[in-house]
C-alpha cells in the first residue's frame, strides 16, 4: 500500500486512548508503516537504536521519543503525529494509558474530534479502558471506535471479541455513549489496521484505516445561534477592533450584537482582516475574527456576543461535572479562578454533590474534597455574574477550567443553571436595557465630553463609621477637579419617589434597593460619577449593594467599606478603610481606584490600554 498524495481538503484530529500496555503506540507505528507514511530511515534508525540497546524492536518506539519512554516501554506524554490519507490530513494524538499520566491523556483527548479506544483482547476491559471511555464522553468527543487489539494472542477467536464488545457496550450505554464500530485487530502483526486480516474471516466490518476515513469533521456549529466570546479589544490604529473566535453560529456586517453579561449592544460596522481581498463581510464558527461596531461601546474580554433572540445564560452559579487533575485535592469553599471561554473570574465550590467512580459509575456522597483523577458533580459560585451555556447545547461556552494557584487543575462541563437571588433584578435590567430609548448622544460622546466615564462609588459599613462625611468630601473633590459627580442620598428618595410606600414597605430592603438602583442607573446613563452610601439600608447593606450592582450594570461599582474594627468584608469590596479615618487619604485612595478601573482617563502599565480610550 502507498499513501495517496492528493491535496488535503481538511484536517482531522484523532486521539488514541486506552489502558496502559494495550498497544496504542504500536497501533500508531503500524498504521504509519503500513501506509508508507514514515520518513526514510526512521524505521532503520529506531531498529538500530534497539539493536544497540539489545532489545527487540517495537513499533511503539517510533513515537515514544523520550529516552525514558523507550526504556520503560510506556508513553509519558501525548505525541502529535501527522499523516495524509485519501485527501485528508490526520493529526493523530497518541495519549498515554498509564494512570499516572491521566492529565496528559486528557490534554490529548481535549484536542480531538474523534477517538480510537484500545482494549487488549487477552486482558479485557480494564480500569483505564473505562475511565478513558467515560472521559471521552465528558470531554465532548462523541465520535469513536473501539479497537480490540492483540487478537493474535487469543487465537483470533470471535467469542472473545464478542464478549468484550458486549461488556464494554453495556458500560458505555450507562452514559449513552455509542461507538461507531468495534474492530478486532493485531497491531503487532498488522491485522485489520491498514490491511484486512485473513485470520478473522468472521469479521466483515471496516479496518482501522477505513474507520478513520469514516469519521466526520465536527458537525456544523455554524448552524447554531451565534456565540462569540470577546478575546481582546485592539486599537493599534484608527480602528477599534473587537476580536474573538466564533464558537458557534455566524455573523455579518449590519448584525445587531448583544454582549452578555453587560447587555451592551451595537451593530457590526465592518469585519476586519489582514491581507484578504476583498475585505470580508461575514464570519462563521471556528474563525478568529475582528469586527468594528457602529457605536463606541465599552466591552471587555470575557463577554459573549450573541444575537438578541438567542442569549446565553447569566448567573453567579451553575452545576457541573468536573474532573480534577490538581496536585492537591479540590476543596469545598476554597477559592479558585474559573475560566469559561475567555472570561476569568474568582469562584468557590459551593457544594460537592457526589464523586463518581468511573470503574462502575457508583456514586459516593457527602465528600468535602475531590482527589486527583476523580470525577465529581458539583455547584460552583462565582464572584461576579458570568455568561455561559449548558454544555448539551453549546460545547465551547458550556465548558470551563479551574485554576489553582498557577496551574489548570481541573476541567468540566456545565450541566445546569443555578438560579441566584439576583435573577429577577438581572432580568429586569436586561429587559429594561433592551427597550432603552436612546437619544443622539452616545455614552462615548459623554465620556469624551466629560473626560471620564460613568461609575458608582458605593460606601458601605455599619453606623457612625463616617460614610456620609466621606461621600460629601469625595463629591466635593471630584467636582473641584472638574469631574461631573453627584451625591445621591437615600433620604432624598424616601420623601419623594418612595412616598407612595407604607412604613412597612419602606422597611423592606428588596424594593427599596430596587428603586434606589434604578435611580442610580438613570444617573449613570447621564455620564455622572454617582457617589452614594448604603445609609438608608442600615445593616442590610450587603443585600442592598448586591441589588444596586445588578441594576447599574454595566457601569462599574467602586465599593468602599468603612469600619472601626476588622470585620468580614462584603463581597467585591475594592477599598477597605479600617479604624480612625484620614479622610484626605481615603479620598485619594478612591481616586486612585477610579483611575485603575479606567473611569478616570490614564495610561496603565507598560502597554497602553486600548479597552477604553478617552
Amino acid at each position: 500500500m502507498t499513501t495517496t498524495h492528493t491535496k488535503p481538503s481538511e484536517n482531522l484530529n484523532i486521539v488514541i486512548v486506552g489502558h496502559v500496555d494495550h498497544g496504542k503506540s504500536t497501533l500508531l507505528g503500524r498504521l504509519y508503516a503500513d501506509t508508507g507514511s514514515l520518513p526514510d530511515g526512521k524505521l532503520e534508525k529506531v531498529q538500530a537504536i534497539c539493536k544497540q540497546q539489545g532489545k527487540e524492536f517495537e513499533y511503539a518506539f517510533l513515537f515514544d521519543a523520550f529516552l525514558e519512554e523507550q526504556e520503560q516501554g510506556i508513553t509519558i506524554d501525548t505525541a502529535r503525529t501527522f499523516f495524509m490519507w485519501k485527501g485528508r490530513q490526520y493529526i493523530i494524538i497518541d495519549a498515554p494509558g498509564h494512570k499516572e499520566f491521566l492529565k496528559n491523556m486528557i490534554s490529548g483527548a481535549a484536542r480531538a474530534e474523534a477517538a480510537l479506544l484500545l482494549i487488549d483482547a487477552l486482558e479485557g476491559v480494564k480500569e483505564q479502558s473505562k475511565k478513558h471511555g467515560y472521559l471521552l464522553s465528558l470531554l465532548g468527543v462523541r465520535q469513536f471506535a473501539v479497537v480490540v487489539n492483540k487478537m493474535d494472542l487469543v487465537g483470533y477467536r470471535q467469542d472473545v471479541f464478542d464478549g468484550i464488545e458486549k461488556e464494554y457496550r453495556e458500560f458505555l450505554g450507562q452514559f449513552k455513549a455509542v461507538p461507531s464500530q468495534f474492530i478486532p485487530v493485531s497491531a503487532k502483526l498488522g491485522d485489520n489496521i491498514a490491511n484486512r486480516s485473513e485470520q478473522m474471516p468472521w469479521y466483515t466490518g471496516s479496518t482501522v484505516l477505513e474507520t478513520l476515513g469514516g469519521f466526520q469533521k465536527e458537525a456544523a456549529r455554524s448552524e447554531q445561534p451565534l456565540r462569540m466570546p470577546v478575546q481582546d479589544v485592539y486599537k493599534f490604529d484608527a480602528r477599534r477592533i473587537i476580536t474573538g473566535r466564533i464558537a458557534a453560529g455566524r455573523l455579518k456586517v449590519g448584525d445587531h450584537l448583544v454582549f452578555s453579561p453587560s447587555n451592551k449592544r451595537a451593530n457590526i460596522r465592518t469585519v476586519e482582516a489582514f491581507n484578504i481581498e476583498p475585505q470580508p463581510t461575514e464570519g462563521q464558527a471556528g474563525q478568529s475574527i475582528g469586527v468594528t461596531l457602529d457605536e463606541q461601546i465599552f466591552v471587555e474580554r470575557g463577554e459573549i456576543a450573541s444575537h438578541q433572540d438567542h442569549l446565553p445564560a447569566v448567573s453567579t452559579a451553575f452545576r457541573a461535572n468536573l474532573f480534577w487533575l490538581g496536585k492537591r485535592p479540590l476543596e469545598k469553599e476554597r477559592k479558585y479562578l474559573l475560566r469559561v471561554a475567555t472570561k476569568e473570574v474568582d469562584c468557590e465550590v459551593a457544594s460537592i454533590h457526589r464523586i463518581i467512580d468511573t470503574m462502575d459509575l457508583a456514586q459516593q456522597q457527602g465528600s468535602n474534597t475531590v482527589n486527583k483523577n476523580q470525577v465529581a458533580e458539583l455547584t460552583l459560585r462565582t464572584k461576579a455574574p458570568v455568561a455561559f451555556d449548558l454544555s448539551a447545547s453549546f460545547e465551547a461556552t458550556g465548558r470551563f477550567v479551574l485554576v489553582d494557584e498557577y496551574d489548570i487543575a481541573g476541567g468540566g462541563i456545565i450541566t445546569e443553571l443555578v438560579h441566584d437571588d439576583q435573577e429577577f433584578l438581572r432580568e429586569e435590567a436586561r429587559q429594561r436595557d433592551f427597550a432603552w430609548v436612546k437619544g443622539e448622544v452616545t455614552v462615548e460622546d459623554r465620556a469624551q465630553q466629560y473626560g471620564h466615564r460613568a461609575a458608582v462609588v458605593l460606601i458601605t459599613g455599619g453606623r457612625h463609621t463616617g460614610k456620609s462625611f466621606l461621600a460629601r468630601k469625595l463629591e466635593g473633590r471630584l467636582v473641584a477637579d472638574g469631574r461631573h459627580a453627584y451625591l445621591l442620598d437615600g433620604e432624598n428618595l424616601r420623601r419623594g419617589l418612595d412616598a407612595d410606600l407604607s412604613e412597612e414597605e419602606r422597611g423592606q430592603t428588596t424594593e427599596m434597593a430596587r428603586r434606589y438602583g434604578e435611580v442610580a442607573r438613570l444617573l449613570t446613563d447621564t455620564g455622572l460619577i454617582v457617589v452614594s452610601t448604603t445609609n438608608p439600608f442600615g445593616l442590610a447593606y450587603r443585600e442592598a449593594s448586591q441589588a444596586i450592582r445588578t441594576l447599574v450594570n454595566p457601569a462599574p461599582v467602586i465599593a468602599v467599606h468603612m469600619s472601626k474594627t476588622e470585620e468580614e468584608l462584603p463581597p467585591n469590596t475594592d477599598v477597605v478603610l479600617t479604624g480612625p479615618t484620614d479622610f484626605d487619604a481615603a479620598t485619594a485612595r478612591i481616586l486612585d481606584e477610579l483611575k485603575r478601573r479606567g473611569v478616570l482617563a490614564q495610561a496603565i502599565g507598560a502597554k497602553p490600554v486600548f479597552q477604553y480610550s478617552i
Binding site: D40, G41, A79, Q89, N104, S107, A341
Partner: protein
Amino acid sequence: MKHLRQLEDQSVYILREAYKHFNNLAMLWSMGKDSTVLLWLARKAFFGHVPFPLLHVDTSYKIPAMIEYRDRLAREWRLELVVGQNKEALAAGMNHTMGRVVCCTALKTNGLKQLLEHKGYTGVILGVRADEEGTRAKERYFSPRDKHGDWDFRDQPPELWDQYKITFPPGTHIRIHPLLDWTEINIWEYIKLENIPFIDLYLDKGDGTRYRSLGCAPCTTPIKSTAKTVDDIIKELRHTTVAERSGRAQDEGRGMELLRKDGYM
C-alpha cells in the same frame, strides 16, 4: 485551502491569547520558513501590526543572505528587532568542531537564555512544529520553562480545549508554540496562499540543490532538488519520504532531546 484557514484560525487565537496575558512578550525569528510564517500570522492576528519585539539569536555562523533578508523585512514591516549573541562563547572560539551539541548549547540555547534573562521576557513565541522531530511532537501550545529555562517534559501542565497555561511563578517563563499543528507542507502551502516573501535559499538556483531547513552554515547541508518554485517544493514534499531535518547535524542520535530539555527551541 480550508485546512490552511483552520490552522490559521487556531494560530491567531493562540497569538492573541499570548498578547493578552504576557506583558513582556517577544517572538523568536530565525528568518527560516517557519518563523517567517509565524511572523506573518502575527500580522494577521494584529491587523498588520506586530506589537512585540522579534528576537534573533545570532550565532555568527548564519548564512549571510539570511541577515540581509532579516534587515530588509524589519525595515519594510516596521519590526522591532532585538539581536542577541553569546559574545563570551564566541570570543572563546566556540564553533561546531567542539561538538555539535556543545556548540548549539553555547551559541543558541545559552544565547537565548542570556537574551531572555537580560530583557526579562516572560513569554516567548516560537515557530516549532510537532512534525519536525519527536520531542517537539510532545510539546504544549503554552509550555513552561523553569528558573533555569529548562523544560520538564515529565510533568507538563494539562491543556484543555482552548484554555492554556498563562499563569506562572516569578522567575520562570512560558514558551508559546502557535505552529505545533502545522506540517512542512502546510507551511509552503500557506506561503503560496498568502504570497509571503521567503528567502531564496529554499529554491534550486540551477545547481540541482536547495536548502530544506536552514540553520548555521557549517551544520546545514543542502539537499538534492530541482524545485525552483513554491509549487515545485509542495509537489516534491508530497512525494518525499526523506525527513525534513535530515540536513541538520544536531539531530543525530539523541541530540535534540538533550538540547531541548536544557531549553533549546
